[in-house]
């Protein structure tokens, strides 16, 4: 902590010393073309010039961490309403060669279509990369990517947050595809449908999606807020 009695001694020592800086980074996931993708920005300056990294920036005094994360994401993607949670805090001393910077990483999910908003106005290059083919990233962001991917897989298994990767209406097939892509695992269609419907998270709409083949029943989530459920 900070103004802690028992720490008076060390605090006095450190008071004049420089402190580590605080940054937030955001790992943004979406499903596009049947692939799990993540948003990267290209770095224009400094030791990592030309390398890709997750969007992020320094936290300002007086700014809450999640607000900083949300701001970052909005600036980069224009996406405002998304699922956002804290992922992990990376504090390795030399992760940023320029200065000791502690990075609080966030993890976010955006529904398909939000990509359209990815025109980086005043920003440099910005692009969605398949998670399975990430380039070498700046800082410790490859490790961050792995942590985020694992969290995503875990959360998909025991919460209902898939809803934030889907449009308001979707078919059971589309839902299943998302699970298969993220968990990298195939599911039996009959078992999958029975399980999902038994959970009561979905409500059937009286509509059909028409396409190249047999029309499929459309569903929506009964609740679009995070909750813990043993899904798979």
């Amino acid at each position: 902590m900070t103004s802690r009695a028992s720490l008076a001694t060390r605090r006095r020592e450190t008071k004049r010393q420089p402190h580590p800086r605080v940054a937030v980074d955001a790992v943004l996931f979406t499903i596009e073309a049947g692939t799990l993708k993540t948003l990267l920005v290209k770095i224009k300056q400094g030791p990592f010039l030309g390398q890709w990294a997750f969007p992020g920036g320094l936290v300002q005094v007086g700014e809450p961490l999640d607000t900083a994360a949300r701001r970052e994401l909005y600036e980069k993607t224009g996406v405002q309403d998304l699922y956002l949670e804290q992922l992990y805090t990376f504090g390795e001393v030399h992760r940023d060669p320029a200065a000791h910077t502690v990075a609080v990483a966030y993890f976010a999910l955006v529904p398909p279509g939000a990509h359209a908003l990815t025109r980086g106005d005043k920003y440099a290059e910005i692009a969605w990369f398949p998670v399975s083919e990430l380039p070498e990233l700046a800082y410790d962001h490859n490790a961050m990517a792995i942590t985020a991917h694992q969290r995503l897989q875990a959360k998909l298994s025991y919460t209902n947050i898939v809803y934030s990767l889907l449009p308001p209406e979707f078919t059971l097939g589309e839902l299943q595809t998302i699970y298969e892509v993220i968990l990298d695992k195939q599911f039996d269609r009959r078992n999958f449908r029975r399980k999902m419907l038994a959970l009561g998270l979905l409500k059937p709409l009286r509509k059909m999606r028409r396409g190249a083949h047999r029309p499929a029943a459309l569903f929506a989530f009964t609740r679009r807020s995070p909750m813990n459920v043993e899904v798979l």
Copy 2:
């Protein structure tokens, strides 16, 4: 992040601005007298004078976060070898009224008996409190306590980290008691034993614990390193 190209503009703005400070706090759990307890220190100075809080302190430049956490714990308890993992980062602006301080909270487990080392040499009061009867804590530490407790419960269910709350040799009854105390739930003794033995995490020692009643078989963990296992 920090020296990020696309952030050049804002970085320049913030460069001269003060940054939030970084602290680590540690929530330390143990089982004592059949109760789950956590370690608190009493604050001697500042706005929270006289209140209890989790041990913690500012991170120094050049110091990795987990090293800072370990240092804190060692200074306070003398415990060196314990299970330690990052819990969550608390970044609410006014959590420390003195200055915007981001706290990276850690969560640690110590085996019984380590309490003996809790003589706070140069430190003020230090004490183990039952988790169910925590006083009003300084900062946002009551919220931190809840987060830590939830994490402990979750981790106990899907990992083998109980080993770090137990001495090298223990009975199945002692193991079961820990689960019951932490998860606040009763288990059927026969089912519990069958499940635990089936997991293969334990090895029977050819020894007995003698006490007030019928001697109980002693067990040890086959592995004393963290791994994921669906325990209960």
